[in-house]
Symmetry: C2
């Protein structure tokens, strides 16, 4: 059930190096098109050239930087970044994040999930349903424990995507994961929430009886509630 938060290995000195450079770029501190001063970075971060290069290879693999002989290592245009990469999404939230990112993530989620429940309704196996029930139990048990509630929410949505039996849809998890967690973080601290279990159970029940339309409707209900929750918090905090 437990899952790694990052794809690349974050262990060791080298992992920190990746994080530091990535956050600088993602926060806009180093702008697209700018060439990285390798020697300065090396001195500042106090790492060897080899270690630094390995860190940059990770960023290159995610489309963030590119190294060209004689021209240097530079930040690629944002259009080339692998925004569907879990690490890239996470780094964006780290600092100076565009608040609209959350809306964009939600937009993707509200495209994927209604379609996903339809597929789940036609393809879910007994194991999938067991996993979904498990997530509901987890959600019920998490009442009053914000961290556990977020984890349960993620479990539910993961189980749902898994029930589509389409690997690619399943991996959309990374897009939703951070958004979901961020939303939960934002929303918590508001008034105590109404029990999320019934609304989620409605989705599972519809999948169980293979009623795609009912499942989709129930899911759209969840999505609308998510929007209302965020709007409520934003309104309170005076954000637009």
């Amino acid at each position: 059930m437990r899952r790694a938060l990052t794809t690349y290995a974050r262990r060791g000195l080298h992992g920190q190096t990746v994080e530091v450079i990535a956050r600088r770029i993602l926060a806009g501190e180093i702008a697209p098109g700018a060439t990285l001063d390798i020697t300065a970075l090396q001195a500042e971060l106090d790492v060897s050239l080899t270690a630094l290069r390995e860190a940059l290879k990770v960023l290159a693999a995610k489309g963030i930087v590119d190294a060209r002989q004689k021209r240097g290592t530079f930040v690629r245009p944002r259009a080339d970044w692998n925004l569907l990469d879990g690490d890239v999404i996470r780094w964006q939230f780290a600092e100076g994040a565009d608040p609209r990112l959350l809306d964009k993530l939600h937009e993707v989620r509200s495209i994927i999930e209604p379609a996903a429940v339809r597929l789940a309704a036609s393809r879910a196996t007994d194991d999938d349903l067991t996993a979904l029930d498990g997530a509901l139990d987890e959600m019920a048990a998490a009442k009053g424990h914000p961290t556990a509630a977020v984890a349960a929410d993620l479990s539910f949505h993961r189980a749902l995507l898994a029930a589509t039996h389409n690997e690619l849809l399943e991996r959309m998890e990374v897009v939703m994961e951070t958004g979901l967690a961020e939303r939960d973080r934002l929303v918590h601290g508001g008034e105590p929430h109404d029990d999320p279990v019934p609304s989620h159970r409605a989705v599972v029940d519809a999948i169980r009886v293979r009623d795609a339309t009912a499942a989709e409707t129930a899911m759209r209900g969840l999505l609308e509630k998510a929007v209302r929750d965020v709007e409520k918090v934003r309104g309170k905090k005076g954000n637009r």
Copy 2:
């Protein structure tokens, strides 16, 4: 307009090393869970340890391998792979590809694109429409030139996703790109095709007049045609 095919830098000896190892893993030659014999690989590919390690960093960044001290470098379970990464998708098609991958890609496409045209209908700017018209022109000019036709098709779908003004949706391009290209490759060689321009123009026209429903309908028509084309070819070739 031209765009890099890979995200990581494929230049140099190192780039080849990544490709070789990636393809072996993606083709199943090195199974998930297996530990890589670094020294053997080094000898076989005739590269230095450093170069090999940098290549492995690229794969690590895409969630394909993980290196743990004392335990070795091993292939991560497929569930951890960044399947939404353009390189990973491309590598899967390279050899021994699961034919169902194409169906999965199409499934994602048929979820994303109808939703995308709805958004495009409400958000497309004049520039977006110009880009779409340009893609239609390209498509018209490409008549009889398979390669150019594929390129034009890709331009169209890219312009469409761009018109949603959601970066994340825009990056779904990588998921569709390879699938689209692969489908076109598969389908060409069949009988001469009917002109694709009118059906695509219908989508653009609906977007221009901001008729989301008409745009969605037109898009679903395109998607169904895509399915029929592939089925026709598969039936002919005796594939199931």
